[in-house]
Symmetry: none
């Protein structure tokens, strides 16, 4: 009997937390990172300021939870893509296509977190601490690149640099969407990125007709 009510409580708590995380995302979309105040999050969730503090110790904790969820989802999606594709090249292509689609939708939130990440050293510290999904995600990508190079699917390049460039492309395109100075559709962007990864941009002298 006890268990039932405890279970219920847990579920409700989970629901509330999710509601606050959702509210946070909405506020971020509407007001951006500097407009993210506890007051607004509470208002958006339809409760009062104090209530948020019943679920999250402080603002950092709230932001941290939202970020963790986003990254964890991203990591899961990426992991599935990598498992689904035997070929590294195919995995990379699918990753890019998926990411472009999802980031177009969440462009503002992704960008807001980029800022949070940059502004709060605490956040950075926690991300690079221990076995965090963020690090695991980075490792997965680097691993894909290394395996691809070993198997001869990818050209031989510095895998750290290449991972960094990939991240830059994915985040940068998000940011441009969020900033409103990129209006191309996600599939156009993914096609272009894949085309770049497949053929490069510059035609070498000996390739020219």
């Amino acid at each position: 009997m006890q268990k039932l009510s405890e279970k219920k409580k847990e579920i409700v708590e989970e629901m509330m937390k999710e509601a606050f995380q959702h509210a946070t995302c909405t506020v971020l979309e509407e007001c951006g990172w500097p407009g993210l105040t506890m007051e607004r999050v509470a208002e958006k969730a339809g409760v009062s300021k104090g209530t948020v503090y019943n679920y999250f110790k402080d603002k950092r904790e709230l932001v941290w939870c939202v970020m963790e969820k986003l990254i964890s989802d991203l990591e899961k999606r990426t992991g599935e893509i990598f498992r689904r594709n035997e070929s590294c090249a195919d995995a990379l292509r699918e990753l890019i296509r998926e990411e472009m689609l999802s980031r177009k939708k969440n462009a503002n939130i992704m960008t807001a977190f980029l800022h949070a990440f940059h502004e709060e050293p605490e956040l950075r510290k926690r991300m690079f601490d221990k076995r965090h999904p963020f690090l695991s995600l980075q490792a997965m990508i680097e691993d894909l690149l290394e395996r691809g190079m070993e198997k001869g699917e990818f050209r031989s390049m510095d895998p750290v640099a290449m991972r960094s460039i990939l991240n830059a492309i994915l985040m940068g395109v998000s940011r441009q969407w969020a900033g409103g100075h990129l209006t191309l559709a996600p599939d156009v962007m993914s096609d272009s990125i894949i085309s770049l990864l497949t053929d490069g941009l510059i035609i070498k002298g000996d390739d020219r007709p």
Copy 2:
């Protein structure tokens, strides 16, 4: 007589503005975007808080002017690179090498402005208003891509998408340097980017041994 003193006044005003812009950059480097307070800018410039307001209407105006100068410099440098190289591919390569070098040095400032840009819709609006160096810079790059494609130096791709990707790479690498989660040297990064642009990453089936 009047004119001479007016000229003098103008020069002094120009010097003061430059001093404030320089101070702003220094503060950004040392304290980051959220640490950019009028107090600190004034202190770094060796004057008092109130004086800054004699030259800039408000904080936005100050930030705006600094950004404008940075972008204008960037545009000039880019223009020179493009003029110096007859080959589009060479121009692109030099652009990347130069940018990596300069962005490594100014990583914090570049990233700070990315944030400013994202946080202040006003800033975005002004960037895309009128004939602004930012738009002109974008146009130059897009033009380079188009010319390169026409001349057969570049593969045929959507030039807007390609420009967006290039921007993403340059800004993203800056950001990673600023965040401390990229430690590779600028020449390693430019080599990797150029290698990607030249050969791509994925080896096509018919290329494989």
Copy 3:
């Protein structure tokens, strides 16, 4: 039948109140006066916050009850000491010895109530209202002093002033223990106080050798 259940109810209520009073003391010992929150009291009593309000109108009421109990106990102990000793001087000596022992143990709680007493005018008002154990305790001590003077056991002094000084010593020593800036043992302190009361500190000219 009604009466039995009412009796039971009363007993339960009394037990609950005592539990809360005990919890309050524990919290005071662990967290001090500013750390005394309703949350902590409830937690320490093993119930929820709301329950405390079923037994005490508000925080003041709770604190008030705890103080009342403490003072009432003190009054009882003092009364017993006074009854046990025929000699006023012996009674005073035993009082001091007992008080030093008990106050060393409860230094934090005593001090906390000193604060409560000072912070809440309401509390002071109630203490001096009606026939309160606090007033009764004061009267008992004053009475002891007066009787002692009449019997020639004590020198003749203003009994109100003397009572005030005695109180000051007892509370002050508690406070210094609580603050951590007194480390002498209770028996050393009681010996010193008794020595002072017996012989004074200053040697008169005509006593000197």
Copy 4:
């Protein structure tokens, strides 16, 4: 020339700080320690909240400065008394008379600081750090007691315990005045204390007629 304006500035700053310290004391007298808010201090000083922060880093700093001044004054007064009197017994008597007079006036403030001292571990730490007037004051009193014992002016007692008792009496009487449950005049109190110190309270068997 520069010097003149700097001097003026310093004087103004000093005056402002003093004004805030005075305002703090007034607020303490009127609202007690828990009623001491920055808002009220500012209001009492006739400025706005933010202005207080131009002179004191934070609330602690303000409180700290006020306490330091009080204790420093007390130390100076005590030092002078000790220097004025060759006899230790006379010095002690004068100290008590002076303290009773000054503490009657500042009873609320003294008591408030007792509370501050108890509530803020930070404050305690700083008080017992290094060569602080508070420690120096304690040492002076202990020294007086020791000298008096050596010279045969005081009976031989544990000087630490005796200092503790003296402190307890002085602070305790302050507190009782502040709490309103002591209405005797300062001179009555000092006479009683001195009488206690000179003759004790309890008459020994062999002294009895």
